[in-house]
């Protein structure tokens, strides 16, 4: 029986009072108790229009101009940190920006980077034991294939990570079968699923020995496949899965590539992401809204030109489109704020660092100057409710800070040539 939202929350509240155990709680610093335990990356493409973007005022005394791009954040003003003066200095332009944005490393061979994106780096440290160590979701990320235009996450060594752009898949992966109602029927189905998995694991093991003489690329191909099967097995058998993750009702199938459906796809993805974060299925997630350049046209707003085209015209339609994205960011933050954190004090947002990233500063000039970064959440730790100008610091320092906020102790992130150390003024 599908749980409704109310009973789901109730269930969470009563059964999840004990803090989750995990290496990220073993902090040397006095901040340990207030550190965020979750990281969310939210991405929207094609830079911005500066004169419509930045708030007025500074520090804690700032405001959003009527009609400005960030105005939809006004309800969560006290929970955001708006960052001016962060430059992407590693490499600029659409694809290079998207490749370096979260890795801090310059791309090679046409744009792919050898770095690791911050979400992957963090999830390897705090999410390894989770049923879903890293939840990468997106909307309209696949119609142009997988390439440097459509991917922003990197595991390591030039390897791009695919987000899932289909809410039905997301539902199946995260919540299907988590009925919480053991029965003979469920047991038999699980028995058969295990049996299938055992067969293909054996088939794969056999193939691996047969191709031992092939080159390294072929070896790593099968290694990756093997890892994927082990991860699938772990999820299938429910190891480490909190029982309360019963999730929403199944997502209706829809054409995920239709521009008209973009809002519904994005909403469904974010709703499931929030539930997965709140019930401990995962601690690191990302939501990629379309991709740099890209065909997305906000038809539901009556727009007739693709977002990327508008980014060059920088007209009223572009501001409208950017405000729509800001509204999505606000929705995500509000959704996280609406749920009590079953594993800590306050809301889920209070213990989550949300990062809104972009690949460009000025979308028309393709530059990396004043790239609009917004942080949100982590309210006991992060200096939220501020509009701060960092005066031209490299974004590598922001990535370093994110790593350290998430509990690492690292002097740099990405290429050290573009800056070491974190940013001052981020923390309370």
């Amino acid at each position: 029986m599908p749980h409704n939202r109310r009973s789901f929350l109730h269930h969470l509240g009563t059964s999840f009072l004990a803090p989750l155990a995990g290496p990220w709680l073993l902090r040397r610093s006095a901040y340990a108790a207030t550190r965020p335990t979750r990281l969310v990356v939210f991405f929207t493409p094609n830079g911005t229009k500066h004169d419509a973007y930045w708030p007025t005022g500074s520090g804690a005394a700032f405001d959003f101009s009527p009609g400005s791009i960030l105005e939809p954040l006004k309800d969560i003003k006290s929970q955001v940190l708006i960052m001016k003066g962060i430059h992407i200095k590693t490499q600029t332009n659409h694809e290079p920006g998207q490749a370096t944005m979260l890795t801090g490393v310059k791309g090679t061979d046409g744009g792919r980077t050898n770095g690791q994106s911050i979400d992957q780096w963090v999830s390897a440290r705090i999410g390894a034991a989770d049923p879903v160590p890293n939840l990468a979701l997106g909307a309209l990320t696949d119609v142009w294939g997988a390439n440097t235009q459509t991917r922003m996450l990197y595991s390591a060594g030039h390897k791009m990570v695919n987000p899932d752009q289909n809410p039905s898949n997301t539902y199946q992966r995260l919540f299907a079968g988590r009925t919480g109602q053991p029965s003979a029927q469920v047991d038999a189905a699980l028995r058969r699923r295990r049996s299938v998995l055992d067969l293909i694991k054996d088939d794969l093991a056999q193939l691996k020995t047969e191709v031992a003489a092939l080159d390294k690329q072929e070896q790593s191909k099968l290694l990756a496949h093997t890892e994927a099967l082990f991860a699938m097995e772990k999820r299938m058998t429910g190891a480490g899965t909190p029982v309360s993750c019963t999730g929403p009702s199944p997502v209706a199938a829809m054409d995920v590539n239709a521009h008209d459906n973009f809002p519904a796809v994005a909403r469904a993805q974010m709703d499931m992401m929030v539930l997965a974060l709140s019930c401990g299925l995962t601690h690191v997630a990302s939501m990629q809204m379309a991709h740099t350049v890209g065909p997305l046209t906000m038809t539901w707003l009556g727009q007739k030109q693709a977002h990327h085209e508008l980014s060059h015209q920088k007209n009223a339609d572009f501001v409208t489109a950017e405000r729509w994205y800001a509204g999505q960011f606000a929705y995500l933050c509000k959704s996280l704020a609406a749920l009590p954190d079953p594993a800590g004090e306050g809301s889920v947002l209070d213990n989550t660092l949300v990062v809104w990233s972009k690949e460009l500063g000025d979308g028309n000039l393709h530059d990396g100057v004043n790239v609009p970064w917004v942080l949100a959440g982590a309210s006991k730790f992060l200096n939220t409710g501020r509009y701060l100008d960092f005066g031209g610091e490299p974004h590598n320092k922001l990535l370093t800070s994110i790593a350290n906020i998430m509990g690492a102790d690292t002097p740099s992130y990405g290429s050290e040539a573009f800056g070491t150390g974190g940013l001052n003024g981020l923390l309370r």
Partner: protein, 566 residues
């Protein structure tokens, strides 16, 4: 071979665009403040919308004619190939593969053997597809196993042997067979029905690496590795039909009649006569010219109300029909592909395009309309794909010409260039608005390659209809100069003349062959070097460029039969 373009960013930018004539440098520093930008003034085309970088191979005349095979590899089925294979195995039209996570595009194609991997996301998608297919199909065992339909262990064994052989496109080893029958027996012993046992076996076969990967490994034979008959059968069938071997090809593999180029050629010519085989070049061309993006290319509904989903679908099919007609209807050449003076219209397309191209010769299916259209580039599907939602985009079209037709990579615009032409009066004719590109030295090097090549197609609007006026009412002007083509500057009056230049160009013909072999071998430049491709390409650019013979040349090359050791 490939030119790499690096952006070196620091306090100053140095822009190196080796394929654009004239070295372009800019020393403008990073802007430290966000100055307000002048407002944009209208519908200027966006000149900065590159295909993903690193997607375009360069082309040089093949310098190595040694017939050297490429590496030993496993090739994961594409999503479409998974669906087609399921159809051939079960008779079920699966849509699962079409929804698999996108494969990585390498040098413009999404079938690169090295990049087609199974990550966590895909493993789960394949698992869900296989599980639901198996649940459904296992309900009627007699349909799965008509030769041995009784619900017994003996027939389960028979099913595993026979269905397994087709699923893996080779006989199962005794170990594999034992593994699968043991799983069937274990399910029965645990209380499952015969159908449950078959569900387990089938659910695994439909996602086993034996099905998901096709092997091109071979066995050691002298200095190289000889592919076995089953490997060659799969190589042929997946290239030519995008699916598993049919019964005749299976029989040839089984009796080891695929060991020579002559035997392979006979099978290839047979397959090229089948409906799926005749689509081989349109499958390639959809990716080559990015027509596979047409389904999701946004179009302005108020400006083009007739361009509905039925028209969109027919447009892609009409493109396929054109390619098939050129290659197989007329034993056509590359030059024919570039210049054939017709398009293919069906009833849906006639409503929108008959005013442009004339009435089709038949009211049934797709047939030729023969006015005002020349070659593959002017096909309405190509023109509609390479255009913005409401207006044409000479820069997109020029980029397609340079990169996809002539293998001349054009780097994206350097940073800090105002890419919106926002100071230009939108009432001016397009050519005058684009003049800013060549007036600015930071832009000129590349845009002299792009703009005129794209402006030649201005006689086709954003959905590919003929037109004589631009969106702002100015008369279209399609004349221009194709700069730096084989070290020449060639004047063309319009798209028809441009097509003629391409059709006669050895560079374009070589570029086409290079991209075809990238697609056919699933190997990028780093794996398929000049010597691997030597035999496949050596005659084509110099010969008459017959398209079917290029395919035959590919499947009878050394690479198709043998592989190198590491």
């Amino acid at each position: 071979m490939r030119h790499l373009h690096h952006f070196i960013a620091g306090l100053a930018f140095l822009f190196v665009g080796s394929s654009c004539t004239g070295s372009i440098t800019s020393s403008s520093p990073l802007r430290e403040v966000d100055e307000p930008e002048p407002a944009a003034r209208g519908d200027e085309p966006t000149p900065s919308d590159p295909a993903a970088p690193n997607e375009t191979p360069t082309w040089e005349p093949v310098s190595c004619k040694d017939d050297k095979p490429g590496p030993r590899i496993l090739r994961r089925l594409t999503g479409t190939q998974y669906d087609n294979t399921v159809f051939d195995l079960l008779g079920v039209q699966s849509k699962a593969g079409a929804e698999f996570v996108a494969a990585e595009t390498v040098e413009g194609f999404a079938n690169n053997a090295r990049a087609l991997t199974v990550d966590g996301l895909l493993a789960e998608q394949i698992d869900r597809a296989a599980t639901s297919l198996a649940q459904e199909a296992s309900k009627s065992f007699s349909a799965l196993s008509p030769a041995c339909p009784s619900e017994t262990e003996a027939c389960a064994d028979d099913f595993i042997t026979n269905f397994g052989k087709r699923a893996f496109r080779r006989p199962l080893t005794s170990t594999e067979r034992a593994r699968y029958i043991a799983a069937y027996k274990a399910e029965r012993a645990a209380g499952g029905s015969h159908a449950n046992g078959i569900e387990v076996v089938l659910g695994a076969l439909l996602q086993s690496p034996g099905l998901i990967y096709r092997s091109e490994r071979g066995t050691a034979q002298g200095a190289t590795f000889a592919l076995n008959a089953y490997e060659i059968a799969s190589e042929l069938s997946y290239l030519l039909t995008d699916s598993m071997p049919d019964a005749a090809l299976f029989a040839a593999a089984e009796s080891n009649r695929l060991g020579t180029s002559a035997e392979i050629e006979a099978q290839a010519r047979r397959l090229l006569g089948t409906p799926r085989g005749r689509q081989v070049l349109s499958r390639f061309a959809q990716a080559w010219l990015q027509v596979d993006r047409l389904p999701n290319a946004p179009k302005d509904k108020t400006m083009f109300p007739a361009f509905d989903e039925a028209v969109r679908l027919s447009l892609a099919q009409g493109f396929n029909a054109f390619v098939e007609d050129v290659a197989f209807g007329n034993k056509g050449t590359f030059a024919n592909l570039m210049t054939a003076p017709y398009t293919m219209l069906d009833r849906n397309l006639t409503k929108v395009y008959a005013d442009s191209f004339g009435q089709p010769s038949s009211a049934a299916g797709f047939s030729r309309a023969t006015q005002n259209v020349a070659g593959i580039l002017s096909q309405p599907a190509v023109m509609a794909t390479h255009a913005a939602p409401s207006h044409t985009s000479p820069v997109h079209r020029g980029r397609m010409v340079r990169e996809r037709i002539f293998c001349q990579p054009v780097p994206p615009p350097p940073p800090n260039v105002n890419a919106s032409l926002d100071a230009v009066d939108p009432r001016l004719p397009l050519r005058q608005r684009l003049a800013a590109h060549v007036a600015d030295p930071k832009c000129a090097g590349c845009h002299r390659l792009l703009d005129d090549a794209g402006l030649a197609f201005e006689g086709f609007d954003a959905i590919g209809r003929r037109r004589t006026k631009e969106e702002n009412g100015s008369p279209v002007d399609t004349s221009g100069v194709l700069f730096d083509l084989n070290n020449q500057d060639i004047s063309v009056r319009d798209a028809e003349e441009l097509a003629d230049v391409a059709g006669r160009s050895a560079q374009a013909q070589g570029c086409f062959a290079r991209q075809w072999t990238t697609y056919a071998t699933g190997l990028g430049t780093s794996d398929a070097d000049q010597c691997v491709l030597g035999a496949m390409l050596s005659d084509f650019p110099g010969g008459d460029g017959n398209l079917v013979e290029l395919i035959i040349k590919t499947v009878t090359s050394a690479h198709f039969l043998r592989r190198s050791s590491i």
